[in-house]
């Protein structure tokens, strides 16, 4: 899984000041699910993303706590309203301490 943690962010190509922008993001991640043996869950250190944070110019705008009931290669979309140009940063944290970040620059047309 060499590409684990690859983050892709998609924003509209032209953004005007005050627009509500829809951002779509995807991270390559296995999101391991609980294994069972003889009907009992196996205790192991499952690897999945448990936290997603979105910050714009350092200010947090969205935080998500995710569970294993989210698909492999999780996809998230959300809206936000930029009032000034800046950098959108999406951070994914997984249970093995992995931190995966993606950024997108917001410029006004």
């Amino acid at each position: 899984m060499a590409e684990i943690g690859k983050v892709r962010i998609r924003i509209p190509s032209s953004i005007k000041r005050g627009d509500v922008v829809r951002v779509r993001s995807l991270v390559i991640h296995p999101m391991e699910i609980v294994q069972r043996r003889d009907g009992k869950p196996v205790d192991k250190n499952y690897l999945f993303i448990h936290k997603v944070t979105v910050a714009y110019n350092g200010r947090e705008i969205l935080e998500a706590e995710t569970t294993q009931s989210i698909s492999e290669n999780p996809f998230f979309s959300f809206t936000f309203k930029p009032t000034e140009p800046g950098m959108l940063r999406i951070t994914f944290l997984d249970t093995h301490g992995g931190k995966y970040e993606g950024t997108a620059e917001i410029k006004f047309a």
């Binding site: 943690g5 962010i9 947090e60 998500a64 009931s69 809206t79």
Partner: protein
């Protein structure tokens, strides 16, 4: 035409062959082949075997227990007129079920949606995700891909900043279960 499609598909990393063609095409369409990956840090190696995190996961329980744990006895109002739940009626593949939850809200500091919970009734661990929103988002709209173990009701619960709880739910028929957590 067919050849083009194959060409595009070779550019997509396949998740151990488990991602569906539909899911892959969807991801492609949404994100574009050329979307650049951002910088990332490699994941740290996990702790030694035998130190599982099973205990830290969401508990296996019935949906009623989840509701009780998350919301206590707080009343939950019907929010079907303000919450728009966009879900397929029939999900062929339970491991990738796209959902969009949109809550009508002015999203001003005085009145906004504080959190959105997505709960699947029949999953072993019913809570799918919890989103904490801020007024900076401009609109309360969240999309994600869920795993659903079987045909189930999916609920979206919105908590407003004044503490009001609103719920909307819809049934999704799942053809092939996705071992939903």
């Amino acid at each position: 035409m067919g050849g083009d499609k194959e060409g595009i598909m070779t550019n997509v990393w396949m998740a151990g062959g488990r991602i569906s063609r539909r899911g892959m095409l969807r991801a492609l369409g949404l994100l574009g082949v050329a979307a650049a990956g951002g910088p990332f840090l490699a994941g740290a190696p996990g702790p030694a075997l035998g130190q599982g995190n099973l205990g830290a996961l969401q508990p296996e329980e019935k949906v009623d227990a989840t509701m009780q744990r998350l919301f206590g006895g707080r009343p939950i109002k019907d929010g079907s007129n303000v919450i728009k739940l966009d879900l397929p009626l029939i999900a062929e593949n339970g491991s990738v079920v796209p959902i969009t939850v949109e809550v009508q809200s002015p999203m001003t500091p005085a009145s906004y949606v504080k959190s959105i919970y997505i709960i699947s009734d029949k999953n072993r661990r019913p809570l799918n995700a919890r989103f904490s929103l801020t007024p900076d988002m401009g609109a309360a709209s969240i999309g994600a891909n869920l795993r659903l173990g079987e045909t189930t009701n999916v609920r979206a619960i919105a908590e407003l900043n004044d503490g009001t709880l609103l719920m909307a739910k819809r049934e999704v028929k799942v053809t092939v279960g996705g071992c939903g957590g």
